[in-house]
């Protein structure tokens, strides 16, 4: 009996914590499927339409897909915002890999003077919050007349130090002897990188890409600062004014915003975790 309790207590604590994650997400999901009349009844206080307190139900009395249909068919605005997110995030992540992977290869596999200092500089850049470089980045971007274009988001993100850092950690795990052998056989450095480095370092590249995606998909500061035209704003910086009438659609919007990230997460969780762990391996 006592041994049993000792086993169950940790499990109970973990379940409670898991509940803290699941309940809010569940509320979003059920909110998206709740008919407007029921939302009115239960959430009008939250939406400023009355003074009544919110009520929570595990399941709505009735389930409707009306809001989903409404969002998909009658809300072109949503598609624009979603598309904005895509054209800002995917090129940025692709750029991070194209620019970052060779750099990470150099940091991890090639030996040159100043390597450690330079890498430390990347770490410092990685730590600084956006607001520190905000003003000067703005000046650079406006000199290039990129303000108010998707490039204002893509370009700085492409050169972000974080993916280089993550990939360097991964590539460092590839034994250098392998490269020396290839060099003896007369392979040039690019060939070594492309034929040995890329295949062996793929988990690192995927990890960096995943973390980069999560970061980009959640960007608020950059779009709000570097984009002026409201129609260019991505999903992450877009908040429709929620009223009782459109609350259901807003819930659907929040759920759909969640989908790409969650899907990528479920398929790539191991890489995401490896990426997180890699950020923890000390130099």
């Amino acid at each position: 009996m006592k041994a049993n309790r000792k086993r169950l207590l940790p499990l109970a604590i973990l379940f409670l914590l898991a509940l803290v994650v699941w309940l809010p997400l569940w509320t979003l999901l059920t909110g998206a499927l709740t008919p407007t009349s029921e939302i009115k009844e239960r959430l009008s206080g939250v939406l400023g339409a009355s003074e009544g307190l919110a009520q929570w139900r595990f399941l709505p009395d009735r389930i409707t897909f009306r809001h989903v249909v409404e969002l998909l068919l009658d809300t072109p605005e949503f598609f624009r915002v979603f598309w904005n997110s895509c054209i800002q995030v995917f090129p940025a992540v692709a750029g991070q890999v194209l620019v970052g992977a060779p750099a990470a290869w150099a940091f991890s596999q090639l030996r040159f003077r100043g390597r450690k200092t330079l890498f430390r500089l990347y770490i410092v850049l990685m730590i600084l919050p956006f607001q520190v470089t905000m003003a000067s980045s703005y000046i650079v971007l406006s000199d290039l007349s990129l303000i108010d274009t998707p490039w204002a988001i893509i370009l700085p993100s492409m050169f972000s130090a974080f993916p280089v850092f993550i990939m360097t950690k991964f590539f460092a795990g590839i034994p250098r002897e392998m490269m020396e052998a290839a060099r003896m056989d007369g392979a040039n450095e690019w060939a070594i990188f492309l034929r040995i480095g890329l295949p062996l370092g793929l988990p690192g590249i995927l990890s960096a890409a995943l973390l980069g995606f999560v970061e980009g998909w959640n960007a608020v500061e950059q779009p709000v600062t570097f984009l002026k035209t409201a129609s260019l704003l991505p999903l992450s910086a877009f908040l429709p004014a929620t009223t009782v009438e459109n609350a259901g659609v807003t819930f659907v919007c929040a759920v759909i915003a969640l989908l790409p990230a969650v899907l990528i997460f479920l398929f790539g969780q191991q890489y995401l975790e490896q990426g997180i762990v890699a950020s923890g391996i000390k130099e």
Binding site: L17, V99, A237, A254
Partner: protein, 298 residues
């Protein structure tokens, strides 16, 4: 740069050395050019501007810094940011370490819990904001819960409570990230250490303080740094929930800098950015130094 690169370690012969040096340049150049253009030079420019007058033509010494220090909202924001960091980071580290210890022993359902805890990390800000509003608005779910216990509803977002809403939001989002970090740290401790200690009759608690904690020191440094980086990102939720001028309890440095930026207050924002940069870097290097010295003491 070139000259630095060309005299590298002659381990495989000179001709090869030159070839590798050229390769280094080719591999690094795109990233270096971008990093210099986008971050390094602009940051240097910020430092320069922080000593210049509004027109950017005359040197004013520490004048801008004085203006910043005398600014009321800056002081409020520094206080709030420091308070936020001092409350959040210890809470996050303790909670996540505790859970990682529980989860590490839990062979059954471990994957399910890990996935669950990591999930908030990928939940987009927009969705988080939606949740915050449903739960924490005056008539929201938390107030409803309070009412069930006979307490009056509270406007959580527009009062001093907003601070704790943001703390909760931060913990919710980054909890799993840290659990994964701690678990990796725990996995790296050789089981033989524990076996040896148990042979000597050490109990659970003794094992924890004598083996687990010291062995987790390197993990601690990284979790600290990442927790600090991430603590600046709650601005996103704060901004989307409460806009540019939220309740004064969550008016953070990020708000001040953004607002000065929109008012094109270049001197103030430059001086504040330099200060922030200096403080963060000092904090990181001091922590690193302390942890390294402890290691040497052993």
């Amino acid at each position: 740069m070139m000259q630095n690169l060309s005299d590298k370690k002659p381990r495989v012969g000179r001709a090869h050395g030159r070839r590798e040096a050229l390769a280094v340049l080719a591999f690094l150049a795109p990233s270096l050019i971008g990093v210099c253009g986008m971050f390094l030079l602009p940051t240097a420019d910020v430092v320069r501007r922080s000593f210049l007058s509004a027109m950017g033509d005359s040197f004013v010494g520490l004048e801008n810094y004085r203006t910043v220090f005398e600014n009321e909202s800056f002081r409020l924001a520094v206080g709030n940011t420091v308070r936020f960091i001092l409350v959040c980071i210890p809470l996050l580290l303790l909670f996540s370490l505790g859970s990682a210890l529980l989860l590490y022993r839990q062979k059954r359902l471990q994957d399910l819990f890990r996935t669950t805890f990591l999930l908030p990390l990928v939940v987009p800000v927009t969705s988080v904001v939606m949740i915050i509003q449903t739960v924490f608005q005056k008539n929201g779910l938390l107030s409803a819960l309070c009412a069930a216990f006979g307490k009056a509803p509270v406007d959580w977002l527009n009062s001093g409570h907003a601070f704790f809403v943001m703390v909760t939001c931060y913990l919710w989002k980054y909890f799993g990230y840290n659990v994964v970090l701690w678990m990796a740290g725990l996995a790296a401790i050789p089981e033989s250490y524990y076996e040896a200690a148990r042979m000597d009759g050490a109990g659970e608690a003794r094992c924890f303080f004598a083996i687990t904690l010291p062995q987790l020191r390197e993990t601690l440094f990284v979790t600290l740094v990442l927790a600090l980086i991430n603590s600046f990102k709650v601005f996103r939720e704060a901004y989307l929930v409460a806009g540019r001028y939220p309740d004064s309890s969550i008016y953070m440095l990020q708000h001040v800098l953004s607002n000065w930026f929109s008012n094109l207050d270049m001197q103030k924002i430059s001086a504040a950015a330099v200060l922030l940069m200096a403080v963060i870097l000092t904090a990181v290097f001091v922590t690193q130094g302390v942890l390294e010295r402890q290691k040497e003491d052993e």
